[in-house]
């Protein structure tokens, strides 16, 4: 494994993009930072600016207004970056898929590297998803 991918894999900084979420997924993402789950032991940190991010966590359904914001945040992120769609809303649209203002699941707008289904997914599932993503990307 090259030093580059080792360093990237050991220090994934997360940026949290909440679309039109019902807020449950947001809470479950924050759960990952609590003492019980503690993602910092894998080197993951929640950062406030997309310029610092390596992973964009997208949750919630993306509606017409959120669409352009999501695109902008994706373009603002320093590459290489990974995108993880969290929750039924992020993966497919979930219960909002047939809504009037729905603008497509996340992978219609930006390329998605991993899907973590669930409504909301448990923190364990989010951690497992990210571990699988790292294994698939970096071997």
């Amino acid at each position: 494994m090259s030093i580059k991918s080792l360093c990237l894999q050991k220090s994934l900084w997360l940026f949290h993009f909440g679309g039109a979420s019902c807020n449950n997924c947001d809470i479950e993402i924050l759960d990952c930072l609590t003492p019980r789950f503690d993602v910092e032991r894998y080197g993951m940190l929640l950062v406030g600016s997309p310029r610092h991010a390596d992973v964009i966590l997208v949750n919630g359904s993306i509606n017409k207004r959120a669409r352009s914001r999501l695109l902008e945040v994706y373009e603002q992120t320093a590459k290489p970056c990974l995108v993880v769609a969290i929750g039924a809303c992020g993966c497919t649209g979930g219960i909002f898929a047939e809504g009037d203002t729905f603008a497509g699941p996340v992978d219609k707008i930006i390329p998605v590297d991993a899907y973590i289904p669930g409504c909301p997914p448990k923190p364990e599932a989010i951690l497992a998803g990210i571990v699988k993503l790292v294994q698939a990307k970096f071997g």
Binding site: I3, K4, L6, C7, L8, K10, S11, P35, D38, E40, R41, G43, V47, G48, S49, R51, H52, D54, Q76, A78, K79, P80
Partner: protein
């Protein structure tokens, strides 16, 4: 010339201070994790972070901003930090630079990182960054006077020596300066000044993760941000080392006293970490009042006590 370059780039400047500072930043994060009943990151974490930013990530420059100033600010910050590392650590390890009055130069050099953060933030053209920059300047105005008064009192207490080497020599003959009442009174504002200089909670006003989302550093990515990180590592080593040199009797690299020196640095960093973990962030006005009134008052009392020989 070659010797000076070595001092500046390898030991005890850039490389040495950065690596030790990285380890200290791991210590800081690990203790924070313990305080919150978490596991915390692995030992190499600061270096993974740094190398990732340096080698993997791309650099984004702001479209509406001054690119040259934006990119040169981290370089300036890093060089200011490493020169001050060399100037502080050389006498601390008992190598005299033969430079009288270095304590005054150090005072100026230590402000270079903050000033560069401010210029970089203002050059980025981001409104959140400029709010961060203005807060950083206000904070600087707040604690700089206190720090200057502390330096002056230390000079007074060590028999009007303005060279760091002689201040340490004085302490080795007459005992550490913190051994007196005024020394203890000086140590408290010094710790808070260091806290503010490092931008740690309760003085992380300029970075303000929650409302400014990175503040002054919001636009930095890739290698320039790696440089800022490295500057922060260096400062995390240099400022506690300065506190140890000024009040706690200096460091030493011989025999068992190495252990003692390491413990002194770790104790100061531990103190900073505990303050950071047990306090909420102050508003910038509160922080300025804290330094202008309370910390300056403490230093003034220390000056009076020093005059009466306590």
């Amino acid at each position: 010339m070659a010797e000076n370059l070595f001092y500046f780039l390898v030991f005890p400047g850039l490389l040495f201070a950065g690596v030790v500072g990285g380890l200290l930043s791991w210590f800081d994060r690990k203790v924070t994790a313990w305080v919150q009943f978490r596991r915390g990151p692995v030992l190499m974490q600061p270096f993974y972070d740094f190398l990732k930013l340096l080698l993997v990530k791309e650099t984004i420059v702001p479209a509406r901003g001054s690119v040259l100033t934006f990119l040169s600010a981290p370089v300036l910050a890093l060089s200011g930090a490493s020169i001050s590392a060399a100037l502080i650590l050389l006498p601390a390890f008992g190598i005299t630079s033969g430079f009288r009055g270095d304590i005054i130069v150090i005072f100026y050099l230590l402000t270079i990182p903050s000033i560069s953060y401010v210029t970089g933030a203002l050059a980025s053209g981001n409104p959140l960054a400029s709010v961060g920059a203005s807060r950083e300047i206000k904070l600087l105005i707040g604690f700089e006077l206190t720090l200057l008064l502390i330096f002056a009192t230390v000079i007074m207490k060590s028999g009007m020596n303005i060279s760091l080497y002689e201040i340490i020599a004085y302490q080795q003959q007459n005992g550490a300066l913190i051994g007196s009442l005024s020394g203890v009174l000086l140590f408290i504002p010094l710790i808070f000044c260091i806290q503010a200089k490092l931008g740690m909670v309760p003085f992380d006003i300029a970075e303000a993760e929650t409302e400014l989302s990175g503040g002054a550093f919001i636009e930095y990515s890739g290698p320039p941000y790696a440089m800022i990180k490295f500057t922060k590592y260096i400062m995390l080593f240099v400022l506690p080392a300065l506190a140890v040199v000024l009040l706690l009797g200096g460091l030493s690299l011989t025999g068992t006293s190495i252990l003692w020196s390491v413990l002194k640095i770790l104790a100061v960093v531990l103190l900073l970490t505990l303050i950071r973990n047990t306090n909420p962030r102050l508003k910038v006005g509160q922080a300025m009042r804290f330094f202008f009134i309370w910390m300056n008052a403490l230093v003034l009392i220390a000056i009076i006590l020093t005059y009466s020989g306590l």
